[in-house]
Symmetry: none
């Protein structure tokens, strides 16, 4: 809840001892400290204009419309524009009772494998709230790729790599032009950022220098 | 993992006692029973063509592209069309180390409140896998890229390039480990296809051989 910015926790008839001893995750203390306790589902959702139940069952509750979190997101956001919305989770073991469900406008079910439908409560809450936060203005959506290397830089890498391949004996005699073209295509496919291009150029320059220098030494 | 249909759990150097005593959620026993244990991140991802790291940090790893789960879904599904994909999670307390991150092609971050970025591990896994299952019938998933290189192949290129940089004098004395990490990250950013990886490996092998051979000749 704290991760995704949902500060209002309400609990209905919690098991006293567990509730008193409950510890929040690091950073989430305010959610637990500000939690409100109620004696019935009816009281806990009294000020809400939309009450969404959650279920692991595919077909038990045919009286209710069943939405995936993705389908639920738009109507929940709409409702949040005009009032409060409750998302109701049952206990880990038994889920929501028929009486609990009778307070719900519709139900939300996380699509899971048919063979393993029941989810851990904390994980189910995380998935539902993630989905609701997913469509909020997302600062990460503005993430941009680092600037790409200019063609001139790629051509410098191409030339030095081609020369290194000749100096190392990789390039067959007479195949210099064909190898250079192969290298040119390869270097473009790498889609280097400007920073990486500079890094690669520095490495390849040193390697070529050594190949030539060592060659000359050996030749003496 | 079991809820969303991801059966393959791999663990790297688990804390022995906790691991032996680990109990799965009801219905998820096969995931735990079939889990594979590895001694290093490199071994655990050796057969994967895409390795996605996870982080709670917004800005620590600027060397890596950072995607939301929603943005990550299409490229992960594309990669699944041609090979295996690893999603790497760190320990609950410390997350992934810089060395762990150096094995990753890019990073995934779940958008959370700035004030509470760090998530419970199980909840983070649930959110990521929910998102991947959410788009399963996504038409984008059918786009095909040439098969990417497996991590073991990238690690071979990393090793040979790192050795070449030492042999050429590029690597400062005492900086071999730092340079190798830099090279490992660079090689992952190149996003090589399997074919290009083979090509690069052939070139780098010949260059390294020459660097060493020439060095020895010069020394005689």
């Amino acid at each position: 809840m704290s991760n995704f910015g949902f500060p209002h926790l309400r609990v209905v008839n919690p098991f006293e001892q567990s509730w008193r001893e409950a510890r929040s995750a690091v950073g989430a203390a305010p959610v637990l400290a500000d939690a409100e306790e109620f004696n019935s589902v009816a009281e806990s959702v009294a000020d809400c204009t939309l009450v969404v139940g959650t279920t692991a069952s595919r077909d038990r509750e045919l009286q209710h419309a069943l939405k995936t979190p993705a389908e639920a997101s738009a109507p929940i956001h709409e409702a949040l524009g005009v009032g409060r919305v409750a998302i109701l989770f049952g206990s880990e073991k038994r889920g929501l009772s028929n009486d609990d469900l009778s307070h719900c406008h519709w139900l939300l079910r996380i699509p899971t494998r048919a063979e393993h439908g029941s989810m851990n409560l904390g994980q189910a809450v995380a998935v539902c709230l993630y989905e609701l936060a997913r469509e909020r203005d997302n600062p990460l959506a503005q993430t941009t790729l680092p600037p790409r290397a200019a063609a001139a830089e790629l051509e410098r890498i191409t030339a030095i790599l081609a020369e290194s391949l000749i100096a190392s004996g990789y390039t067959e005699p007479g195949a210099a032009a064909a190898t250079e073209e192969k290298v040119r295509r390869l270097v473009r496919r790498l889609d280097l950022s400007a920073t990486d291009a500079e890094l690669v150029l520095g490495m390849m320059r040193k390697i070529l220098w050594k190949l030539r220098h060592a060659g000359r030494s050996a030749g003496l």
